[in-house]
Symmetry: C2
Subunit: 213 residues, 2 copies
DNA sequence: CCGTATCCGCTCAGATACTG
DNA sequence: CAGTATCTGAGCGGATACGG
């Protein structure tokens, strides 16, 4: 038996043998947002060594989690259906890890893909369904996201477009999502800066996206 | 920054920094069944080196996931409330990994705690609520479990007791849980051996515990 | 016996340089 | 741009030994 195997006949060990290696689930996290090129993955995971990225891509491909897909002259990596079924795992991990997050340290970055998945984690479709369709432009550190909520549907993209509320925030937005910081306080203390639109829509944002801390 | 950190301000990376190390989630998996002594954990994870087990217990304790609790002369390790919140993560991983499980290899063992969590993963409370309360004694490899289903409640323990159906099965029980193998076929082909009680209750068992493959 | 520490060999991760 | 090659060191696996 390979020394690195756990030696148990169990779904959890099987899963960990496929995606338990360092960086593997973070690659999956980013690919859950959409297909990505090698360089885009490297950009979204600034600290991953290139050889490790190459190795993980090979392993995840061999495990049937992702595939190399040719797209007009370039290759992108995209999840297979089985790989997409990891979304509940990533969301559960994200929700659990959220509670342990303190304030950000200087070296910590916020990437567009990680922020997108965080928004998906915090999204409350049942709540959103009761609210009018709303779109937001959120600038969070380096990540500039277009967030469209329409009923129970959520769409997060990197494009630009017309929005009801445009705001910029530091990573302190975490305390808005967790409910520790009221929307109006977030604005008055400068944690969130309203760039365009009605600031009171931030309350709707905070209701739509919520995670317990 | 510690070299081993991912350098991202994100719930998923935070979670992986706490429980992403090798063996960590398997320790959590077993503790989700109940408090365990050091030796019991080592027994449930036959291939873990003792130094790694000791190191993980320290790390998980420092992270607030488990605590050492004195119990009449001996120490047991038990999850904190925050540690118990990892249950959705472990269940999601188990359900996903289940689909990738083939037939067991010779070196792979089935432990009572991993089997208990697998049953929790496969349990369908909504289905069980419509069925009469039933208890099963399931011998699965080395694991001998008492499984009590009462309405939407599931209790799996290692004790013995009066049951409606007692059966023994090899790890081929996976195909029963996945629906690939019909209950009567499981019995007629010897995959499941009925030791005591009405064999037709195995169909109820297969309805109560189901995971897609 | 339970829990932990120490040793060593090895694999994998991390950093950098290099190539088609 | 998309990887591959190489080197170093950290963490893991396995055995053994030690203290309560």
């Amino acid at each position: 038996m390979a020394a690195r195997e756990y030696g148990q006949y169990c779904g959890v060990t099987q899963a960990l043998e496929l995606v338990g290696e360092r960086w593997a689930l973070l690659i999956v996290r980013d690919l859950l947002v959409g297909p990505r090129r090698y360089g885009e993955l490297a950009e979204g995971l600034p600290r991953i060594p290139s050889n490790i990225l190459a190795a993980r891509l090979k392993e995840l491909q061999a495990a049937g989690i992702l595939r190399r897909a040719p797209r007009s002259r370039v290759v992108v990596y995209e999840l297979t259906p089985y790989g997409r079924e990891l979304e509940p795992v990533v969301l559960a991990l994200g929700a659990w890890g959220f509670k342990a997050m303190g304030d950000p340290r200087d070296e910590q970055v916020v990437t567009p893909d990680s922020m997108t998945m965080a928004l998906r984690t915090a999204f409350r479709p049942a709540v959103a369904a009761e609210l009018p369709a709303t779109s937001y432009a959120a600038r969070l550190g380096a990540a500039e996201l277009l967030v469209r909520v329409d009923g129970a549907r959520l769409d997060v993209s990197r494009g630009d477009g017309p929005v009801d509320l445009s705001f910029a925030a530091g990573p302190g937005i975490r305390r808005l999502i967790s409910g520790e910081l009221a929307p109006d306080r977030a604005i008055s203390t400068g944690v969130v800066e309203v760039l365009h639109g009605r600031g009171d829509l931030l309350a709707r944002f905070a209701t739509t996206f919520h995670l317990a801390a």
